[in-house]
């Protein structure tokens, strides 16, 4: 797993989830991402924790013993505006509408991937942060988001519009693992599991232009999960594509 960015302030999270295994891996994964995580296994505990403490984000299952997620959310919203990500078991429109109506900030349909949850959490955290920079710099890669140009050291890299969009997206999320689905959504606005190798091919072509002839390597494949752009120490962590 790639380390989380050190410049991010640690998030304080509450997970309200009755399925023990799910709660367990979420707590483990998010703690390793540098978050402080509390867990409640039913609605009553969850409501208590949510009302007593101030969390950055609450991850809330819709189906809970005790009181259900929607009820908990309404009780919370009566008091405070902590951002909430709802987890719903069914991809039903009613649940979605109900959740958003009751004040959820985002929702995820089970089964969701951990990466997806991470991305949503980071998006919620980014919300309200200072304006995006116009320049990005990772090691000797420099990206000008206004002029839409990129350099590796002194050398200008020639990129098509979509290649630049892909590079900028990866660089903006440096240190975050982006799944193929997330990349397809962010770069091409393709909002579904596409069952295609388009992203793999696009990354391969981008890597040929941005990474192959330069050091250090910045664009890394995390097998089975996606891609991450970051400067790693020499002989850094595993997960490199085979040569």
């Amino acid at each position: 797993m790639a380390p989380s960015n050190i410049d991010k302030p640690a998030m304080k999270l509450l997970i309200v989830e009755d399925e023990v295994k799910t709660a367990e891996y979420l707590q483990k994964g998010l703690t390793e991402q540098g978050c402080t995580v509390d867990v409640a296994h039913d609605g009553v505990d969850g409501r208590h924790l949510a009302l007593v403490h101030d969390y950055d984000v609450i991850v809330l299952d819709a189906m809970l013993p005790g009181i259900d997620g929607f009820t908990l959310l309404r009780a919370l919203r009566a008091v405070k505006q902590t951002p909430v990500i709802m987890l719903t078991a069914r991809d039903s429109i009613e649940d979605r509408v109900r959740g958003l109506h009751d004040g959820a900030d985002d929702y995820l349909v089970k089964p969701f991937s951990f990466l997806e949850l991470l991305a949503r959490l980071q998006a919620l955290q980014r919300r309200g942060r200072a304006q995006e920079p116009t320049q990005l710099k990772i090691a000797n890669l420099q990206i000008d988001l206004i002029a839409r140009k990129a350099w590796r050291g002194a050398e200008r890299i020639d990129l098509s519009a979509k290649e630049f969009a892909l590079l900028a997206t990866l660089a903006r999320h440096q240190g975050e693992i982006l799944s193929k689905t997330a990349i397809a959504e962010l770069v091409w606005d393709m909002n579904f599991d596409s069952n295609t190798n388009v992203v793999e091919v696009a990354i391969k072509r981008l890597r040929a232009k941005v990474d192959n002839a330069f050091t250090p390597k910045l664009l890394h494949t995390i097998r089975g999960m996606g891609y991450v752009m970051e400067a790693r120490d020499e002989g850094g962590p595993r997960g490199e594509p085979p040569p």
Binding site: F192, S194, N195, A202, R205, G224
Partner: protein
């Protein structure tokens, strides 16, 4: 409350018979009463005219005495016919209980009913005023006929009629019940046939030959439902087998890979490799499950939501743009033709998903450097998006089944690891079309395969 057909039929038979017999009885009773009345009136008239003739001709007391004897003679012993003569002269009076008559018969001459207070007998009467003649003053002649025998006849008739009617109704109830039972026996046979149907014998049908024509519609409809059920059942069984098969490969990889990894001490790096490989299989499983859930919802008739107005050609271009890296790799190109200005109301994400499945297939099944064509056409209230690619011709029998779940033209191709889908791509295209009120089409000849889907053209439908 559940009502039995037998009870209903019997009740209706009984009510029908009761109504008929009551009507006939009432008519007969009326006829009888009128005839009896006419008979009494005839008798009254005969006696009245006879007596009037005798009284009018003579005016002296001698004849009056003879007349009294005559009236005595004419009055039967049971007093069923009686005569009265009223006058101001006491010498010219006749009849028993004249004082009563004075009291009760104050009216003018004519017809009437009279009940004698002492005997309680009721007489139908007719009276006549006769002018004075010689010694005799004006008199009133009254003839009465006892109504008791007639009333007795009427009453007997009514009682007999009522008893007969009730008897007939009882008879009809019994016979009706028996007839209904026999008449409904074919239904019983039909139920027995239906009861014998089992999931394993779904190909069985209800036999029409021995059933009456009235049950033909029901039986035919039922057999039709059985046919559809059988088809759905077979599809489901086939589908289950396909799902199981599709899930088996990743599961086997997961189990085998994990067992191998755990069978001896390994470095963290090797375990990481195994976990990553597992993750790939798990992602594949997740993708199958998600797609199947999507198809299940479409099967339940869920219509697309989140509809927005969109420029069809623009959406097509955006989707093609997504595939540019793949197209570049193969040196292929896509041209967009047809109604480039078509507008549609649709769920854009679903539309792109359907089109990207078609493009993915087209790129995969065409040679390098192929020229693909996306054609947009508007016809008959629908907007059609067709993707054509040069490639191996698909045999005609496969074409209609291409959109079935897990259907593969060439089963060996699946294992070659070339395809990126899992056999649900075109099923999803069909589901998206259905959610937009559209359809799908596939054709393949002379090395050109065209697969198309449509969405309802709401603008055309509205105008």
């Amino acid at each position: 409350m559940r009502r039995s057909i037998t009870t209903r039929l019997v009740l209706m038979f009984a009510l029908g018979v009761l109504a008929t017999l009551t009507l006939i009885g009432a008519a007969l009773y009326g006829v009888l009463e009128r005839e009896l009345t006419r008979h009494q009136n005839d008798e009254l008239n005969t006696n009245l005219q006879n007596m009037r003739y005798s009284i009018e001709r003579f005016g002296d007391l001698e004849h009056w005495a003879r007349l009294q004897v005559k009236m005595d003679t004419l009055t039967p012993a049971d007093a069923s016919v009686r005569f009265w003569v009223l006058s101001d002269d006491p010498r010219f009076l006749y009849g028993k209980g004249l004082d009563e008559m004075e009291r009760v018969n104050q009216g003018e001459a004519g017809r009437g009913m009279l009940t004698l207070p002492l005997s309680g007998r009721t007489y139908r009467t007719r009276s006549l005023r006769l002018p004075p003649f010689q010694d005799r003053p004006a008199v009133r002649l009254i003839v009465g006929v006892d109504t008791a025998p007639f009333e007795h006849t009427l009453r007997t008739f009514l009682v007999a009629l009522t008893l007969l009617t009730l008897g007939a109704v009882a008879l009809v109830i019994g016979a009706g019940w028996w007839i209904a039972r026999i008449g409904l026996r074919p239904l019983q046979r039909l139920s027995e046939q239906a009861r014998a149907l089992r999931p394993k014998t779904l190909s069985q049908r209800l036999h029409l030959e021995k059933l009456p024509v009235e049950l033909e519609d029901l039986t035919t409809a039922f057999n039709g439902a059985l046919g559809r059920l059988e088809e759905a059942y077979q599809q489901l069984e086939g589908f289950n087998a396909d799902v199981a098969h599709e899930l088996r490969t990743p599961l086997a990889n997961l189990i085998g890979g994990t067992q191998v990894a755990l069978s001896r001490p390994r470095s963290a790096g090797e375990f990481e490799d195994t976990l990553q490989s597992n993750l790939e299989e798990l992602e594949r499983l997740r993708s199958i499950v998600n797609d199947m859930l999507f198809l299940a919802r479409a099967d339940q008739g869920e219509a697309a939501t989140g509809l927005a107005a969109a420029d069809v050609a623009h959406e097509v271009e955006m989707t093609i743009e997504f595939f540019e890296p793949l197209l570049d790799e193969k040196g292929s190109s896509v041209a967009v033709e047809g109604e480039l200005r078509a507008q549609a109301t649709m769920n854009i994400a679903l539309f792109r998903r359907a089109l990207s499945n078609l493009l993915q297939n087209a790129i995969e099944h065409s040679p390098e450097g192929a020229k693909l064509v996306v054609t947009i056409t508007q016809r008959e209230g629908a907007i059609w998006i067709a993707v054509a690619n040069p490639g191996k011709t698909i045999a005609a029998p496969h074409l209609p089944r291409l959109f079935d779940r897990f259907y593969r033209v060439d089963s060996s191709r699946h294992d070659a690891g070339e395809t990126h889908g899992h056999g649900l791509g075109l099923a999803i295209v069909r589901a998206v079309a259905a959610m937009h009120g559209g359809a799908t089409l596939a054709s393949s000849e002379a090395g050109l395969t065209t697969i198309a889907f449509s969405i309802a053209d709401r603008a055309a439908a509205a105008s």
